[in-house]
């Protein structure tokens, strides 16, 4: 396991210059790389090193650092190692390279990121809408979008749940029963 991880790190660091590697416990290796190199490194991982299963693409919004972090997780069925490829995109002008020619299923992830974070993927061919329909607000998964305020403004809310009480207290108030001893322990 350790040798495979070392070999993978060495291969990547010799092939790509602007990359930092990080070892983790277990079967996990992390690489941090600039966003321009993403298609190249993914192609390399898939075609040269046999990491042919795209496990996941995740996006994290680092609002304070004004950046999006995009994580590609690939898995090799032969090496049994998962490789995380991290990259950062500017939050103000998020443009990424489209990778759905490497893995077709990346198309779905990219559609979702485009809708939820507003990240533009160059040359992405997909319908405009994925999960939302006629959405008018800002991309909803951005951290500066306040879902609670939006929901309160858009949807009518049934009164009665403002104080967020324990349901037992409501029942007791209504029926006049005693709170059982074991329940008092958990009283809010």
């Amino acid at each position: 396991m350790e040798e495979i991880k070392k070999a993978a790190i060495e291969k990547i660091t010799t092939h790509f210059r602007e990359v930092t590697a990080e070892q983790h416990n277990g079967n996990r290796v992390d690489f941090f790389i600039g966003k321009e190199e993403i298609p190249a490194i993914l192609f390399y991982l898939k075609d040269e090193m046999g990491y042919n299963h795209l496990s996941h693409i995740a996006c994290v919004d680092w609002l304070e650092e004004k950046e999006f972090e995009i994580v590609y997780i690939v898995w090799s069925y032969t090496d049994k190692i998962k490789i995380f490829v991290h990259t950062r995109v500017d939050r103000e002008n998020p443009v990424m390279d489209n990778v759905d020619m490497i893995w077709r299923q990346a198309n779905t992830y990219e559609r979702e990121m485009k809708e939820m974070y507003g990240i533009e993927f160059t040359g992405l061919e997909a319908p405009e809408e994925f999960l939302l329909e006629d959405w008018e607000g800002p991309p909803p998964m951005r951290r500066d979008f306040d879902t609670e305020a939006y929901a309160r403004e858009k949807y009518w809310e049934r009164p009665g749940r403002e104080d967020a009480r324990d349901v037992r207290e409501t029942i007791i108030e209504r029926t006049g029963e005693e709170l059982p001893d074991f329940a008092k322990k958990y009283k809010r």
Binding site: Y77, R104, L131
Partner: protein, 367 residues
């Protein structure tokens, strides 16, 4: 001469669809020439809401990700959190987790029996298996307090210890179900019409399967032996003795065969787990959840569910709330890019059967 193409909307209100989604198909005669999936009818913004909940509160939302089998999602999230924090899980909890996961797998396969047989018009098997599924749900109810949503697996172990005499009840149910499974086989797999309807339909190309991101029973139905439980073993799966069944062909029939054998392997695993169940603690207690913070970092944990690999990417910024929890369901790939590919060239009558054989579960696509 080409026939005129008609556009058909399968769903969202359609008895043949596996949940609330839509497949827009263009048909020429009875043959599909183009299929497009449209999802989003179930988007509840779970991942946004999890950012607003603390680490433990998220579990109420997690189990709603995929309704037929909620436990692998909890398991993935719990393991990701444990990996970030470096929290140890007691040995007994690991065994209980495996038991719960396998019970959930069985419950979900029983539902799949109903879906697969029902999609071909064989309602009797569905009625039997969904009725018998109640026995597994009874076990869950006794163990966790909930029939469908359990919120049982959480960081540091499981929420409660097993009740008195629970092992015997599990074994009794397993014995009963093992007998019933033969009945389903007689009616479903031995049936010549069922074979005619499933063999050679919805074939996944073996050479392309891994590249397309096929996982779980559909992948094993192509004859490729990959399972997260043996490739990337979690909990105590490396200490248990079980077979990962495969079947050549890549059609609905081979996927059904894989599932048929896997449910028997689940029974075998549960028996071993109960046999080997160690004593001791079941929960490594977490601090006050309102103040519980995790170190900065991220983790990705994968679990083998009935539909295939489900994973959870969790990112922490060192606070009391998750920075980001992103779920990867098997249907995310199966239900969109793979399904659109598979349906082309198939008969209109087979849409429902193909969807069921892939285990398309819209809530896990949309979350």
């Amino acid at each position: 001469m080409r026939e005129k193409a008609t556009t058909l909307y399968i769903g969202p209100q359609h008895p043949g669809i596996t949940g609330n989604m839509m497949v827009r198909v263009k048909v020429e005669g009875d043959t599909i020439v183009k299929a497009t999936t449209e999802v989003g009818y179930l988007h509840r913004a779970f991942e946004k809401l999890i950012e607003k909940r603390n680490w433990l509160q998220s579990f109420t939302l997690l189990c709603r990700f995929c309704v037929p089998e909620p436990d692998p999602v909890e398991e993935s999230y719990a393991r990701a959190v444990e990996e970030i924090e470096g929290r140890e899980v007691p040995e007994r909890a690991k065994y209980i987790r495996v038991m719960v996961l396998e019970l959930a797998r069985m419950a979900s396969y029983m539902l799949w029996y109903g879906g697969q047989a029902g999609s071909l018009g064989l309602y009797t098997v569905g009625q039997w298996s969904v009725g018998d599924r109640n026995y597994i749900l009874d076990l869950f109810e006794e163990l966790t307090g909930g029939r469908v949503y359990h919120m049982y697996i959480w960081p540091g172990g499981v929420r409660r210890d097993m009740p008195e005499g629970f092992e015997e009840k599990v074994l009794k149910t397993m014995n009963y179900l093992e007998k019933r499974l033969d009945d389903y086989d007689d009616l479903m797999f031995e049936n010549s019409i069922f074979q005619k309807r499933t063999k050679g339909i919805g074939i996944i190309d073996k050479a392309k399967a891994i590249e397309w991101g096929v996982v779980g029973p559909p992948l094993r139905g192509c004859g490729i032996k990959h399972d997260v439980r043996i490739d990337d073993p979690y909990e105590v799966y490396d200490k248990l003795d079980f077979i990962v069944p495969t079947h050549e062909g890549g059609d609905i029939w081979s996927r059904a065969q894989v599932r048929r054998q896997e449910i028997r392997q689940s029974i075998r695993i549960i028996r071993q787990v109960i046999d080997k169940m160690p004593g001791g603690e079941f929960y490594n207690k977490v601090p006050n959840p309102q103040k519980w913070t995790l170190p900065k970092g991220d983790a990705y944990a994968r679990t083998e569910a009935v539909r295939g690999e489900v994973g959870m990417y969790v990112s922490s910024d060192g606070g009391t709330h998750p920075r980001r929890a992103h779920f990867r369901g098997a249907a995310y790939v199966h239900g969109i890019t793979l399904l659109e590919n598979l349906l082309v060239g198939e008969n209109l009558a087979d849409i429902s059967a193909i969807m069921n054989s892939l285990g398309t579960c819209p809530p896990e696509i949309e979350r």
